[in-house]
Structures are given as C-alpha cells and as structure tokens.
Symmetry: D2
Subunit: 316 residues, 4 copies
C-alpha cells in the first residue's frame, strides 16, 4: 500500500521530482501523479492516443504546448471545437492575445473593441483579420473539390500555415487528423455559410468525417483517451473509441464534477464499464484547472518518455 | 434597495410563493428569482427565445418539461446535442429509463447491460431498439431528397413521432426549429455514416443549417437566450444571436464556474458587452444543478405568464 | 426500480408536488427529494436532530427559517459559527441587511461603509450597534457567574432578545442548545477579550461545552444530522454523534465536492462506515446552494410532518 | 500588457521555470503565478505572514511541507483546526497513513478498522495510540498550571515532540504561535473533557488566546495572509489582521467558489475593501486543489527567496 509521505522543498526542484512526490501527498495531487503514469503507460503500450481539448485552452498558452505534443508524437488523433482552431490560425498569422482579469468592466472592454475569455483578452481586430483571410482559403479549397470532410479541410488549412507553434500546422505536417464535430459553431461557420451562398454545391461532409474518425483505429488497436475539459470533444473521442471496442487507457482532466450527470463531469470510473480497462492503474481523473494540471502531469510524462526514447525527437 | 427578509414556511406553499420569497434570501436563491423575472420579461417583450440544453437533461425527466415549454409557446428556437435527441426518440417509442445511484459498480452494470449517466440508468436494449428504427427513418428521408440540413431532418423525424412528451414531436408540431450543430456525435452519427456508405450522395448539410439558425431572427428582433448547462448548445445560441446584434435578455443556469475560462462557466455579465442589454435586470446567472433550479424558476415564470395570458393554452 | 418520469408544470403547483416529482427527474433533483424523505424519516423515528449551518446562511433570509424550524420542533441541537450568531442578534435588534451583487466595486463599498458577504450587504453601523450592546450583555452574564460554557451563555443571550425570527430567541425559548465551538472567531470574540482584560477571572469554558454537546444525546438515542454547508459546524455535529455511536440518519447539503478531501465536501456515504445507517434511504447528499435547496426539501418535509401531526403547532 | 505566450516543454524543466511560464498561459495558471509573486513580495516587504490550512491538508503529505516552511521562516503565525494537529502528533509518534481511493466501500473499510479522509486512509489504531498518549500530556501541562490558552498549550506539546517534519515541533522550536480557535472539535476535545471531569479547575482559555493572536501583530506591521482552504482557519486569520487594520498582502488557495457567499469561497477582491492593499499585484486567488497548487507556487517562491537570501538557512 502506498504511504503518505511528507513533501519537502529543495532548491531548483524539477517538475518531475515534484510530480513524483505527489504520489504520496494525497487528494488531487495523487490523481495528477496517476494521470502522468497512465500517459506513460499508454505510450509504452503503443496505444493510439486521442487528445481532446476545448477552445478556451487554445486561447491560452496551452496552444503551443499542444502543437509541441503533436510534434513529439504524443497524440495520434485530435478532437476539438472550432473556436480554438480559429484562434490557432489567428495566432499563426501573427495575432497576439493578452492576459487580463476575471473581474473586468465588460461594457468598457466592449467599447475598446476587446473580447474577454475568462482572464484572456482578444482584440476584435484579430477576428477581422481572420475573416479577411478565411474566404481566400475557402476559395482555394473549393478550386480543388466541392465536397470536403472536416478533417481533410483542416489538414489543407494546416498545410497553408507556417508556424511551429500551430496545432493545425503540426497536425498537418505529422499526419495527425483533427476532428471538429461542430465545425459551424464559430466565425468559421459564418464564412462557410456565406461561401455556400455563392457556391451552392460547396459541401462540408460531417457524415464522412465520422467515418474518418472511426477508421483512425481498429478494434484490435490499443487505444488511449486524454480528455482535457469536457464538452463535445471529450464525448466524441470516447464515442469513437467505444465504437471500436473501448479504450484501454483514459485520463480525464476537468473542473466539472460527476454530480450534475454531465459528460464534462463524467469520470474515468465509467471507463471500467467498457470492459477493456485492466485495472485502476490504467485510468485517472484529475479535478482542477487544466492550465495548471496538464503541463505538470505531461512534463513528467515527457521527461520519462524521453528517457525511454519514445519521443519523436530527431537527434536525441 | 432590496432588503434581506426572513423566509417562512407555511402549509401548502406554492412554488411561485417560495421563488418570490427568494428575492430576499440571498446568494443563489436571489439569482434564481432574478432568472425567473428575466424569463417573464423576455416573454412580455415578445423576444425570440433561444432555449438550449445538454443531452443529460433529456436523459432526465426534464425532457417532458422541455416538450411542454415548446407546447406552451415559451421557446422559439432550440439548440441541443444529438445524444439527447436520440433519447427523446427512444422515450417516444416506449423505452423507459430508471433512477440509480452516482456510486455504483460500473463493471457490474456493464455485465448487466446497463449504461449509467450520472445517477440515471439506460438499458443497452434501448439503444438497440433505437438503432433498429433509425435506418428505416433515414430511408424515408432519403426517398424525399438526398441533401438535408439538420433542423429539417429533425423536423421530419418529429413528425413521425406520436408523443406529447417528446421534444422533437412538439417542436415539429409547433414549428420550433431544433438545431444540433454536432449531429454526428452519437449513435445517430454512426447510422448516418452507415447509410452514406450505401448511398454516397446522401448529404447532411450543416453549413446550410447555420444559415437557418441565423435566419430564425433578424437584427431588429428582440432576442433572449435561456442556456441550461454549457457546452456547444449554449455557445451556438449565443453565436447565432450575436451575429444578429446580440440578445437583449440572457439567463444562464449551470454548475460550471467562470474561473476556468470555459464557455460552460461564462456568466451573463459578458452579455453586457454585446451592447444591447439595458441593465442588470435583464440578465441572470444561476449556479446550481439545472434539474433543481430550472423547474423552480420556470414554474414561477409560467404561473405569471399564465396570468398575463401569454401562454399558448387553448381554452384558458 | 424507480423510473425516470417526464416532469410537467401545472398552474399553482405546490412546492411539495414539485419536490415529489423530483424523485423521478434525475441528478441532484433526486437527491433533493431523498433529502426531504430522510428528514421525514428521522422525525417519524423520533431521532434527536442536529442541525448545523454556516454564518453566511444567517446573513441571508434563511435565518428566520431556522428560527421557525426550532419553533416547530424540528431541531434538537444546533451547531453554528459565531458570525451568524452576531448577525442574528443584530437583526433581532432591528438592523436591516440588503441584497447586492456578487460583482461589485469593493473599494467603493468600503468608502460607503458597507461590508459585502457574497451578494449581501451589511452596514458598518450595524456592527457598531452590536458592539455597543454586547458589553452590557457580558456585564449581566458576569454578574451571575464568572465561568460560562458557550451554550449556556448563548441561551442567556437568547432570553434577552424579543424576536420570533431570532435563532437564539427561539432556541432559548424552546430549550434547544446552541453550540459554537469557535466562539471567539468574530467581533464577539474581540469583546470577550476586552471584557476579560477588565475581569481576568471571566472564563468561557469550551471544554465543559464539549461535554454538554455529548450529553445532549446518548448511545441509545436515535440520532440524525442535517448539515448545511461544511466547516466546523458540520464536523462538530458529526463528531458529537459519532462519540455516541454514530447517527442513523444524515442529510448533507453543500456546494463542496468530495474531491478535495475536505470535511465540507465529505458526503454521506461515509456515514455508512459508522455502522448504524441501515440503508441508502437513510442518507442523502445534495450538491447545490443551500439557499435554494434547503427551503425546497424542508418545505415538503414540513408539509408531510404537518399532516402526520409531528410539528410543534399549538392549535393545529 | 502581459501577452499570452505558447508554453513549451523542455527536458528536466524546473518547477520555477514552469510556474514562470504560467504568467503567460491563462486562467488559473496565471493566478498561480501571481500567488507565487505575492508570496515573494510579502516576504521581501518583511510582512508578518499568517499561514492557515485545514485538517485534511495535515492528513496529507503537505504536513511536512508546512513544517519545513516554518523552519525556513516563511510563516510567523499559524491558524488551523484541531484534527490536523492531532494527526501531526500521531505522525510525530510514528503513525503511518496511506493512500487509498475516493471510490471505496466504506462499510468494508469500517470493518477493517480503517477511516477514510477523501483518498487517504487512517487506521483506527492510530487514533487509539494518540489517545493513550494525550492524557499523559495533559497531566504534565496541568502540573505546571491549571489555566492554559490554546496556543501556549500547543507550544508545550510541540516541545515534547521530536520530529523535524512536525508542524507543532517546528512551530515550538521557531517561536511561531499556532492558533486553533475550535480546540475541542476533535478527539483532543474529548480528552480535554475527560480530564476536566477529574480536574474541574482545569481551564482552556480561548478568550485569552484571541488576545494572543491580536498581539502577534500591530497596526503598524505590514501583514500578509496565505489562506489554504477555507473554514474557520481562514476566517480567523483575516479577522485577526483586520482588527489590526487589515493585511497588505493576501493569497487564497481554495476549491470553493464565491457564488455560495461562504467564507471558504470569498476571494481576495474583498481584501481591497480593507483599504491597505495597494494594487492588484498584492493579492491572488487560486481556484484548485491545494495539494497541487500550493507546492507549485511555493516552490517557485522559495527558489526566489533563497536567491535573495531571505530563507532561514544556516550555512547558505
């Protein structure tokens, strides 16, 4: 049985050391350590990893971290929402977001042409610049073909970008498909609509894309889900693995609780009902803000996977 | 200035009386009272009302309540996720769900062929019955045309049902469009995929449907949003109203908090930044489980709207 | 097995009807119904009921509701924190609190001499009036004896008040002891300190009072705990019942979750480990704001206890 | 204005580096960085630091971390609850706690003589060993004098221990007073009661101790509060500083939200109303599990304070 042990600071402690000590601290710190362990296990076991996150995480500085994880070969399939993808493109084309405050005068911000996402701030101008660009991109896509599945469209967009920190760029470059089951739920959707008004035979084929996500893995693949936040991204990855027999590994990090019965708050104990999870050490649920918990758990996992030679780094 | 007043029980108190007394109690009870007031205001002002909810709410007994609200003329536009719509259809065709417990042995449930959604239980057989039916429905739709927007497809399905308690039935009957921006994110998506495999020209046109939701209201309409829970349903309704200039009224009921920066936790103070909310009395955010808070706030609102003759009841 | 049933509004619905329908809705509404049932059960079984609440609830309009519950014979023992007792006294002597907003300019409020507790506002003057009065009360107590246990002191204060809506007044009048394990943690503590400076032999005997709470019940009594919010009040009641063998019935209503390992978030499943809870129907945990959930659950319980003739009402 | 910047992993990253990068990530990670900064600021400004924590944190491995912080000279005053102090003594006398699971069969644990605190497990035997010891300690204290303030009693107990990882030991050795406003709310209270039964003139003087905490600082001292979790410990520290004019610096780390109006969820924006906080950079509220967030924020602060020569380390 794992014992509770007193935590100690020492000078210049590494993140991995601190997360290791969390194994013996208690409450959510134990779960964070376990999450890190499960991620290492799923990679060592060559599981196909579904990484999901919500738009606001891409608004934050986690965006470049997700791009790096793709580059390092951590994720095989991405699922997210369209707002984040729009912001990934904005950032890839030079837009800069800034840090604000949760308590703000929203009317004043509005007058200054600033949008607020929690404690992050986005200039209206950034959205306008995005809109100027997107029609041109759609025109290029349409010139190639008139019917696109979402992930194929996103891959094309990724190939047009040139930013190491971009999720879409790294995903395209590393052949990691990006699924976005509600592609119209953002400014992008509005521009798709305007474009279709002019080109009625332009079709975004979401049905085909559901086939695409199903075909990313088979029943025989080992599968892992890392779901950050809740919402449709989490549900879609769970659904896609479930239709292929369920995942062997699952890490959920969220601020939502199981008590409301929502998907966002569903914890990994459900994963046991899929019949493929072997034991408790293959699943972990960490309650807390992903902007804190995920970089910690992942940093330790990356340090360990690096030692094992399991990261996609050229001249190691 | 509103005073804090001592709450008192009296025999056989009506819900409206209790909610009225909440105006003077404090904390979230005040917000619940305010939410009820904002709903009354938006209806009196003839605002177009967007009602959004998450799938798990349709799993629960709120499903029949939503259907009733459509029948009574409360909602003009619905936005939700596909899992709930599947369950609405299951219930309309006789499937029965039951009440369980948050603390359960999920492995054992799995062996008994039962799925758990929080403290609600669904038999696997219910999904199978749904699947038996859905292909036949798709065949009928395809016989009419090969390209469907989501809301038009859902309307057709609603017309095939015969259950006063069904959301899709009441929506179809009362010409209330149901939007579902991620239509493939459920068993329904899997069957759409299988059907398209056989009929490659079968298309679900989500882009057209984004146009449809935009056209439900105009810039000049007064608009109100009642968002229950978070997720993409909430975001989609806010987006659709925002592209038409923003809503004048907003009620958010959720268990999520603003501190994670997620859409689910975004509160109505943001609505002030849309520039159309006139004052604090037009918005309310209630933190709490919607299964408790919404029926309370709505019951008082309905009682009042009934008195005003603003409910869609034939022989009042 | 309890089925999920569609909820319906009808005109002038009573609170009891709505809570009854919650049995079949799902998520926290089910728990709220169960809580109501457990309260009825503990009263029918003549259990000794420990009611605990936090100070902010007394700031709110729940204060008069608690007083009424004492008058109706619902609670046999109270445990709370001193801030609420100070405010009960303030209100009993005419101070009026008002409803504000969670989002406020606290610096401006400070300049206007107003204190904020969530969305409730208290004038500094109210505290000053309290302070003017309290020294006089201490002088009277000291004239009787120099060593007081907390509950005996609070009883004396209650006898000096004249307000049907006062917790201390009703508790004193109905011989319900009020325990406050951290009596110095408020303005009252400061005045006790000043008084002791002048009268060094003045003693507040908290050790004796722990004996007093132990002696309110015996091992053989059936016991029930209704804990509203968390903190030391909840813990103290659980401890006092546990030292007498544990409670047979427990209802916890709180916004805290079990995931942090705190007492505030501990749920009633722990109560099963006391060995006296007979089955699941004797315990309930409701996650949500007590200002909403408690009046609902309690109103239904009171309606039912009234019918059973179990309320302390003279000319029923 | 601070910009959002993409986070990157690099091999063997130090905790301080990760926390530094959090300044540019967003949501709670920004708040965690700010908390770390405020702690550094309060120490550089020679503020008197009140550190408060709840019992469950002492159950966890944070206990040795708190002891270390006292040794390093971070905290000048401690406020906590009695359960944690009991467990500090248990651990100091060799008892070992272990890591369990939030989902457990509590009835089975009970039969095995194990108590659960979230996901931590304590043997009943550990409590029994504590009880065997405590009466002997009380006898020694009583032999010296019959009337004790709480902090003086806790100091005497600390002097009897011999464990570098003990909070009470380090506090006693470093002249850091430990305040515990509800000293009877635990097994310790029960033994105080039994002891007083035999020795009626034995008195625990909580009123005097309130004077003691007031006298730890003066109006002219700069003061800082680091409140971990909520409850009475947090409130007591805020009260004690407020009666001396308010603190200049405040860091709150908690899982509770402001929306319930509880002390546990009150955020540091209130601190601005004390009139002494100079600007936003002197306060921070971090929402999240303290077992994760506090070691992170504190590790970076300690690294920086070490560089500045502000830690109490002999042969630096």
């Amino acid at each position: 049985m794992v014992q509770v042990k007193d935590l100690h600071w020492k000078k210049d402690m590494r993140v991995s050391e601190l997360v290791n000590s969390y194994e013996n601290v208690g409450f959510q710190s134990v779960e964070l350590y376990r999450a890190s362990e499960v991620i290492v296990k799923m990679k060592k076991d060559s599981a196909q990893v579904f990484l999901t996150f919500t738009s606001n995480m891409v608004t934050s500085g986690l965006r470049g971290f997700f791009a790096q994880l793709i580059e390092l070969g951590i994720a095989d399939v991405l699922v997210t929402t369209v707002g984040g993808l729009e912001e990934d493109i904005m950032k890839a084309t030079g837009e800069v977001f800034s840090i604000g405050n949760f308590n703000t005068d929203d009317v004043e911000l509005h007058e200054r042409g600033i949008n607020r996402v929690g404690n992050l701030l986005i200039q209206n101008q950034s959205y306008m610049n995005f809109e100027d660009m997107i029609t041109d991109i759609l025109r290029k896509l349409y010139a190639k073909q008139n019917r696109w599945s979402v992930s194929e469209m996103l891959r094309e967009i990724g190939l047009l970008l040139d930013d190491q920190n971009s999720i879409l760029y790294q995903a395209a470059k590393n052949n990691v498909p990006v699924f976005c089951p509600a592609i119209t739920d953002g400014a992008f959707g509005f521009h798709l609509f305007l474009f279709q008004q002019e080109n009625p035979d332009f079709i975004v084929d979401v049905v085909k894309d559901f086939g695409n996500i199903l075909l990313t893995t088979s029943y025989d693949d080992r599968k892992g889900v890392i779901a950050l936040g809740g919402s449709i991204s989490k549900h879609h990855a769970i659904l896609a693995t479930l239709l292929n027999g369920g995942a062997e590994y699952a890490v959920y990090m969220t601020t939502a609780h199981r008590t409301s019965g929502s998907m966002s708050g569903a914890n990994t104990s459900e994963a046991k009902s899929w019949g493929k999870v072997k034991d408790e050490s293959d699943i972990a649920t960490v309650i807390g803000d992903v902007s804190i918990t995920f970089p910690m758990a992942m940093t330790r996992a990356l340090d360990e996977l690096y030692e094992e030679g399991l990261l996609n780094i050229e001249n190691k």
